[in-house]
Every structure is written in structure tokens, then in C-alpha cells.
């Protein structure tokens, strides 16, 4: 089928638009990138998830050493927590009992890249309990790692040594929703999808959506300033989060859980906790503005001959779809081959193309939206901007198309390990990084289809609307030689373009030492100053156990320099 024919056919069908509701049942249930779902999908997909096979982070990074200023957990400590937290399920005790099997899931990340040595997991159920835990740990100098849904990609939510895991999963109550204002107030441990389904009952939409929605917590989303699929439409959490409740390292409960859209009475302190990755305090509650749920959602899938055409298509979509454009996702040809191989699903288009994109609209009037989308399709087709395309005609097709975008992460996970880089680069050069990286690794002889080559694929995809690229290097297993070939090369490449080495995943353990590529010395110094202000003992969350200010003159962080 020629490209113009398939699009024309799509357009003909599109001329009889069916009004569709974007209710809970319509939310595409994409394969979740979260821990539990990942385990589920791993087990059905031939690769069995076995935490014990994962290398300890201390072995992968032997240059990281435990700071002796932190205390070891004792039986008395365990007793204290058991007394205070009450419920037996609130304390998983690997200190005085053998609880390895119960504890292991909290020690590791779902990418199977990091694995800690914790022997104690605490699951408080209220801000008061979190406060008691924090105060005690601060005084006893027991290191703590806050953990939400544990779906992070940078090793920020798992311990390295024996840090106590403070898991928020029992703080999982919706506190209130006001459908006049659209403001949801909920515990930090509420799962994103649960929050969205709750507000969907009142015709509202949680203003964040991402692959891990089935497992990740809204508290973790806020702590990591998650961006997700529809940031270009619903904006940053710095704008939509109206209030926060958090517990500081010394146990102070910060109640800034305002539900007001405007409140200019002094410094907006809650902003500090958004994106601080749990290093300034533990978020226990969130107040967030939810927009009305769109009445109509449409999605189209395109094949394109070049990255320049993707840019053209994006510019046209921004101009013509304007206020109803809710996502513009880029996927390269290799990423779609992987999804095809992993799922066995038939490609949405007949030919294969070097680039694909998913364009989604969300609006209040199905006919108007379809008219705008048709005009857009006709334009990009007649101008030859896209080579081929399909428009989802029903909910099944809608979900199927999104799976080609959201299935990439899972498809990659079947190949072994993945080096993931989540970066911001000005649009003109966004995809160039993938080409340059592939070429570099190919020239070094790392890329190939057989066992002798560590690298199986170099793929790129991401959020065009946010200039956000996900560069993924799939390896047969994690390999120091490959890592050295990528880092710091990739960070230098980004620094030259004034990009960001972490668009949305955060620094965690993986990227903390590289902050100097995206932040200048003054900014790093000011961050350290704030950390010292809130957590002078620096017991909260592992990444900040390392000195972010100790950097040589060339502006690059010392790897894992220890305080």
C-alpha cells in the first residue's frame, strides 16, 4: 500500500469520527515500567527476574565505600521501630531474623542494575510515623533511603550499603478531591494510575502520565519531578503541584498542603522538594491541580524518512493542532524493530522507515478535534512531510499504537542490560546524539548480532515536544568497557550543546558525579549549601553521601568522591 493510499484511507475513515470518551477504561494500559509490573512481564517473557543474580552495587562500583560516620543498625533500633510503627507489616526485619527473601525486592531496582545490602525496611503509615523514624535515624546517624514505587532508572531509590529503606507504600490513601476546583489531595504512596482512576470518576485527569504508572507513586513522581508523556500539554509539576506535605531530616513535619491555586505569602518552599529526589525531606502528601478530562482523544502513527521531517512534522503539529496537541513522541526505526521482535505484533505501517512518531490530540469536542487532525494529516501528506501513517479508529487501535511507543522499554529489557540516558538537547541536534553514539560504538567494534559483541542495539526515542531524548544502549550484560566508551563522552557531547544530562530521570547514583556537565560551580555550591541546611548529618538518601562540590578544575565531578 502506498503511503498516500494508506493515509487517504485513514482520512476517509476519519471523516466519520466516533465520539470517544477518555474515561478510565480508555486509558491505554501500557506495559508498565514499574517494579511489580516489570517482574510480571519478566516472568511471562522467558527472562525470570531473580534479584539474587544481580551484582551488588558495591561490587559494580568498588570505589564507593561506606561512610564510617553512620551507625550500624542494632536489635534495639529494630525494637524501637517495631514499637513505634505498631503493625507487623510495617517492619521487615533482616537484622534479627533471616528475612532475605522479603527484603530483596527493596534492595534492587527493576533494571537489575543496582543492588543494596539493606537489612531493614520500614513502612510507616502516617506523616507522624515518618517523622518519628526520621528523627530517630537523624539522632542515631542511621542512613535512610526513601523509596516510592521503586521504578526509578538512576539507582536513586535503592540502598547501596545497609541504609534503611523507608518505603511509602502503606501511605496510600486519597485524602480528598474537589471537582469544582479539580484539586486532588493524596498520600505520597498512592499509585499514579490509582490517582488517575480516582479523578477520572469525576471527569478529571491526573496531569502526569508515564509508562510506570501502574507501579510508581505520586510522591516519587513529585520527588523526581517526573515529566512523562504529556508535559507539553499539561506542564511541569512545578506548576501543577499546589501543595506538599513533607518530613525534614530532623523530623519536622512541613505542612504546605495548600489547595489554593494562588498563594504569594512568602517563599514557595514546596518547590524545593519537587525534584530533590528525596534528599531534602520525605514527601508524605501531595496536593495537585487536575485538568478536566478530555472528551475526545485521538492518536496517529507516522513513518518518516528523516529526522528533519520529524522536526517539520512537529512544527506543523504545534501550529495546527495547537491547544489540542497532547503528545508528540519520536521513535527511531531500530526501536520499533525491537518492539516488533519482542511482541511479534504486526507493524502498524506496511513499509519500514528510519523514523516514526506518535501524535496525540485531546480535546473537548470530538468533531472539532477530528477536523483539526484531518487538516493536519492532509497538510503533512500533501507536503510529503510524512511517508505513511495511520489514525486509530477505535480504542483497540488507540492502545495498539501507544504500545509501539511504550513497549520500547520492555522490548529493550529482554535483550539483557540497558545503558539509559535521558537527556535534553535543543531540537535541531536531538537525534544526532544517537547516530554519533552508534557510530562511536560501532567503530570501537562493540556493536554486533553475535555473542562476541557486547552491544546489541543503540536506539533513540523520546518526547519531541520537550526536546527530551531517551538514548538507550542495549548490552548483553553490563560491561565496564562499553560504559567507559560512552561516559563521559555522552556527557561532553551534551554539554557542548548546552543540554541537560538528566531531563527527567534525575541524578540518583548513576549521574550524580556528572552534575557538572549541566550545572555550573555556583549552582552546585548553592545546592550543597541547601543540603547542608536541611540535612547537616547528610543521612538522608544515598546520593548525597557523596560530596557534590569536590570537583577538579576541569569542571567534572570526581567519580564517587567520598566525603
Amino acid at each position: 500500500m502506498s503511503s498516500s493510499r494508506s493515509l487517504a484511507a485513514a482520512l476517509r475513515r476519519a471523516r466519520v469520527p466516533r465520539p470517544r470518551t477518555f474515561g478510565p477504561a480508555m486509558v491505554p494500559h501500557r506495559p508498565s515500567g514499574g517494579a511489580e509490573a516489570a517482574r510480571r512481564s519478566f516472568s511471562v517473557a522467558s527472562t525470570v527476574y531473580a534479584p539474587k543474580e544481580v551484582k551488588y552495587t558495591t561490587d559494580s562500583y568498588p570505589n564507593i565505600q561506606r561512610n564510617p560516620k553512620f551507625a550500624e543498625i542494632t536489635a534495639d533500633d529494630v525494637k524501637f521501630f517495631q514499637d513505634r510503627l505498631g503493625a507487623p507489616s510495617a517492619v521487615i526485619d533482616g537484622v534479627t531474623t533471616d528475612a532475605t527473601d522479603d527484603i530483596e525486592p527493596f534492595n534492587g531496582d527493576w533494571m537489575r542494575k543496582y543492588r543494596g545490602h539493606t537489612r531493614l525496611v520500614l513502612k510507616p503509615r502516617s506523616k507522624e510515623e515518618v517523622s518519628e523514624v526520621m528523627k530517630y535515624c537523624n539522632e542515631r546517624k542511621l542512613a535512610v533511603v526513601p523509596q516510592g514505587g521503586n521504578t526509578g532508572l538512576v539507582g536513586g531509590s535503592v540502598p547501596v550499603f545497609d541504609e534503611i529503606v523507608l518505603n511509602l507504600s502503606r501511605m496510600n490513601q486519597i485524602r480528598s478531591f474537589d471537582d469544582a476546583s479539580g484539586v486532588l489531595v493524596a498520600d505520597a504512596g498512592v499509585i499514579l494510575e490509582v490517582a488517575d482512576q480516582h479523578v477520572a470518576q469525576h471527569d478529571h485527569l491526573f496531569p502526569l502520565d508515564l509508562g510506570a504508572k501502574g507501579s510508581c507513586h505520586i510522591g516519587g513522581n513529585v520527588a523526581t519531578n517526573a515529566g512523562g508523556l504529556r508535559l507539553l500539554r499539561y506542564g511541569s509539576l512545578h506548576g501543577s503541584v499546589l501543595g506538599l506535605e513533607a518530613v525534614l531530616p530532623d523530623g519536622t513535619i512541613v505542612d504546605a498542603l495548600s489547595t489554593l491555586r494562588k498563594n504569594n505569602t512568602g517563599y514557595d518552599l514546596k518547590q524545593l522538594f519537587i525534584g530533590a529526589e528525596g534528599t531534602l525531606g520525605v514527601i508524605t502528601g501531595v496536593s495537585i491541580l487536575c485538568p478536566p478530562r478530555p472528551q475526545a482523544v485521538n492518536v496517529a502513527y507516522f513513518g518518516l524518512e528523516s529526522y528533519d521531517q520529524v522536526r517539520q512534522a512537529f512544527k506543523l503539529a504545534k501550529g495546527q493542532l495547537s491547544e489540542i496537541l497532547s503528545a508528540f513522541e519520536l521513535m527511531d526505526g531500530r526501536s520499533q524493530q525491537l518492539v516488533h521482535q519482542s511482541t511479534g505484533n504486526k507493524y502498524p505501517l506496511e513499509g519500514e522507515y528510519p523514523f516514526y512518531c506518535v501524535v496525540e490530540t485531546s480535546g473537548s469536542n470530538p468533531e472539532h478535534d477530528m477536523a483539526k487532525l484531518e487538516a493536519f494529516l492532509e497538510h503533512i501528506m500533501s507536503e510529503g512531510v510524512v511517508a505513511d501513517g495511520v489514525l486509530a479508529q477505535d480504542e483497540t487501535q488507540f492502545q495498539a499504537i501507544w504500545r509501539w511507543r511504550e513497549g520500547i522499554t520492555e522490548a529493550l529489557s529482554h535483550l539483557g542490560g540497558t545503558y539509559k540516558y535521558d537527556v535534553s538537547i535543543p531540537l535541531p541536534e536531538l537525534y544526532q546524539l544517537v547516530d554519533d553514539c552508534r557510530e562511536r560504538l560501532t567503530q570501537l567494534g562493540f556493536v554486533g548480532d553475535d555473542e562476541s559483541h557486547p552491544v546489541r542495539a543503540v536506539v533513540g526515542y523520546g518526547h519531541m515536544g520537550d526536546s527530551n531524548l531517551h538514548l538507550n544502549i542495549a548490552v548483553r550484560q553490563y560491561n565496564k568497557e562499553v560504559e567507559k566508551a560512552i561516559e563521559p563522552w555522552v556527557y561532553e557531547w551534551i554539554q557542548k550543546r548546552n543540554g541537560s544530562i538528566s531531563a527527567e530521570h534525575g541524578l540518583g547514583l548513576a549521574k550524580k558525579e556528572f552534575i557538572g556537565y549541566s550545572q555550573n560551580d555556583t549552582m552546585v555550591k548553592l545546592m550543597k549549601q541547601l543540603k547542608d541546611l536541611y540535612d547537616p548529618v547528610s543521612f538522608l538518601s544515598l546520593p548525597l553521601l557523596f560530596d557534590v562540590t569536590n570537583r577538579p578544575q576541569n569542571g567534572i565531578m570526581n567519580p564517587y568522591k567520598y566525603i
Copy 2:
């Protein structure tokens, strides 16, 4: 004309929608609330603006005393600034010369409520010059007030004593605009309207609009976290500001002028400066995301019989106009009478109503927008939600309608002084504050049409979409008895409803002592801690010369308690 007939007529006309461009020429040039424009309008409107007639703040508030730890400006200081800032226009020297006439405009606010004693105004032209000034003042312990367009309403941008005015008006260059991403980078002293006109040339829109746009600076907008007319559509500056450049009290230049939409590499420090009212540092540059300029903008004006109907109309507008709703403004009947008396303009509707609202849509497709608006109009008309209404048919009518909303501030200014309260209150009780306040002042015998009554009018208007009410009490002259009847009563009223005593105007001098009504002790303590971190000398900006933490047990700030 009956309400249904006038609306029906409007609808008939509306059925032939004219595509309209929202280009620079189409931006309604509303009477600016800013300093310069205010002076212009005062002079044309019988009340001549005469700074010298305004009472000194030190006389109005005799309990505020100058902190002796701050130095007095000497001739040597003036010499230093003249040498470093170079240009003669950069230093207005009232220390060694008589420059009263030149200096007075910088000592007073446009509401004629505050008047300081400064004898020195500095106008640096670069961040390096700001840095030199700040470093020197910090070391010499010379108090400084940063000043943008000086259009504030809470006395935050003018001195009380002899603080040096650091005016940013010479930092007025657009640095760059990228029409692919929509990111504008500009000096802090660029006037809001100039910034908007610049991006309009590239079919973009500055994501903030407010009455003072002809005078206010974008740096001041960010420093005060201005909300304005279209926050419900374009969101908060915490979401749209991508980067900032600021100078800290010690002269450190903070370069966080990122143009990236996503950058999760450490703490988002720029957020601290948004809404800090210049007390943590002086903003010198702004990077901001501008949305595409809408192709079609429509505005309608309604008369309604009750506040409950205003709420109903807002709920319907939110649901039916959804993504194209760009403003929903409330005005009470009294406010519109004042505009009528002040301008002599004929009312937009034939009858008079206790409530009015302005509903604006902005979208990319004129026909779609008009269809949505028509459906909305038909619905609220047939349901009897509104009593009467008109829809602007051309640019002249568009501007005329907006003038009924934006002319309130100026109309009030002709009456004498105005006690202004800018508050957030949950929607159900939003307007109740105005009724309660009017009743209270009436019972006390303050309200009347003749000279024996200090209060001329109690009016309410504001941004329904943001739960933001502007309560204005127009007085013949500022009157301590009236003030005592209003404060702290008004703040207690708001506190009982968990509202905010300052939705968007900020604290400044006017509301600083009342922060306890909207922030709890912990929050105030954490704010003080941050102020101490960035400005231990506390020389920057007057409001923080007063101790925000010194409060009696009842949770209310001591008036002007001195450190």
C-alpha cells in the same frame, strides 16, 4: 431589550464569525495600572499626581524605625557607584546634590500610599554591575530595595527610610527568542508589553498578562510570581519560567538561565527566586516558555442575578469551553457603576445587574471556537444562568469589553485612596467576603456618599478561574479608623476559610506582618532560615528587615516588630 433577545441577537451575529488574529495590534491596550501610565491617567483625569502630597511611610507607620545597624550613605559611596556604573544616567544622586524632583518618583508607589526617604537611585545596566553594587552594599551594610516597574500594590518596591533604590529599568534588552521552542530570554527590566510585542512578531504569546503590562517589568513579574488574567489557561510562572539569572546579596551571580524545558539535575534553585519579592537576590534575566499565539480570541460580557449563578456559569464554561477558555473574570455591580461614572461610557448591557463576568476564549480555529462559544451561550441562556450578555463582534468591542474589567483599578483611584486586598478563597464563599466587609463597615457608620463618611465604596472583582478575589475599599483618604475596622478582621475571615491573604500581590510592607494568617509557624521559620542563608546581613529589601519569626502565641505577627 430582554435578556434573551440581546443574547439571541448576539448569537445571530456570532453565526458569521470573522476570523481574527490576536496579533500585537489586537492586544487590548487596557488602562495600565503601572506607575507611568498611572501618572498619565491621573493627570488627564482631574486628580494630579503629586508625590510631595503623599505622606511618608515613616509618618503613616510611626512604629517602624530605622535599624541602626545599617550604614548611612556617604559622598564616598556615591563616588564609588558613579565610578563603577559609568553613565551619568545610572546614578541619581540626592546625597551630594539636590535631586529631589528626579528622585521622588522612585520613592513613591503609584497608589500614593507609600513614600520613602531615599537619596540615591542606581540603575545598573548589566548583571556584573548589579553584582558590584550588591557586593559593595553588603560589605558596607547599606540597605537596598530592588525596583522594577514599581507597579506593586503592597509597598514592596519602594524604600521606607534611606534604602538605596536599585532600579532595573536600564537592563531592558531582549536577549534571544527561538520560535521553534518558543523560549524568550530577556533582561529583567524589559517591560511586559514590550516582551509580548516582541514574541507576537513570531506568533507567540507572553504567558502572562495583567493591567500594568505597559509599565511593569518581567523581572518584577517573576520576583512577585504575578498571576494575572490568564493563569487559568497558561499556568503559573513556576511552570513557565525555564531559567533565571540573579545576583545574590553577596554579589554572586547565579546563572541558571537554562532554556531547556526539562532539566532534572539537582535542586531547582531558580524556583526560590520566583515569588521571593527580591529578598533573596535580584533577578537580572529571565528565560520563559511562550505558547503559540492564538489565532482567534473572543470575549463575552454577561450580567447575572446572583453569585451562585456566576459559579454555575464558571463551571459550565470550564466544562464546555475547556481547552479554549482563557479568562473568566468576575466583577460586581458596584465596580461597574464606578467604571461607568469614571469613563462616562455606556453600559454594555441595558439593565443593571448585581454581578457581571467576562469570558474569553483563545484558540487556533476561529470557526471551532465560535461554535463552542455559541453552544455555551445557548446553554447558559436557555438554563437561565445568565440574565443578559453580549459577544464582542470586532476589535473595538473586544477592547471595550475588557475595559469594563480592567478599568476598575483606575476608576477606584479617582475616588481617593483604596485599601486593596488580593486574596484566595475557596469558590463557594469567594464573594461572601465583599458582602460581609461592606456590612461590617456600614454598621460601623463608615460608608456613605457625603464627606462625613470615610468609605465611598466596597467592591469586589477578580479571577474566578483562580479563586482569586480583589476586595477594594475606596476611601476619601487613608484612614486609620477604617484600617483598624478592616484589619485584622479581613485576615481572620480568610484564615477561617483556609484562604490566602495574598493571592498574587505578595507581602511587601503591607502584609508582611500578617503572614501568620496564611502560613504556619514551621513555614515561617523555614523562610527565615532561607533568608538568613542568602542574606545574613538582611540588607536586601525592606520587608525582611522585620523579624518574620517574632510572633506571639496566638499565631499572629507583631505589627512591624523590629529585629
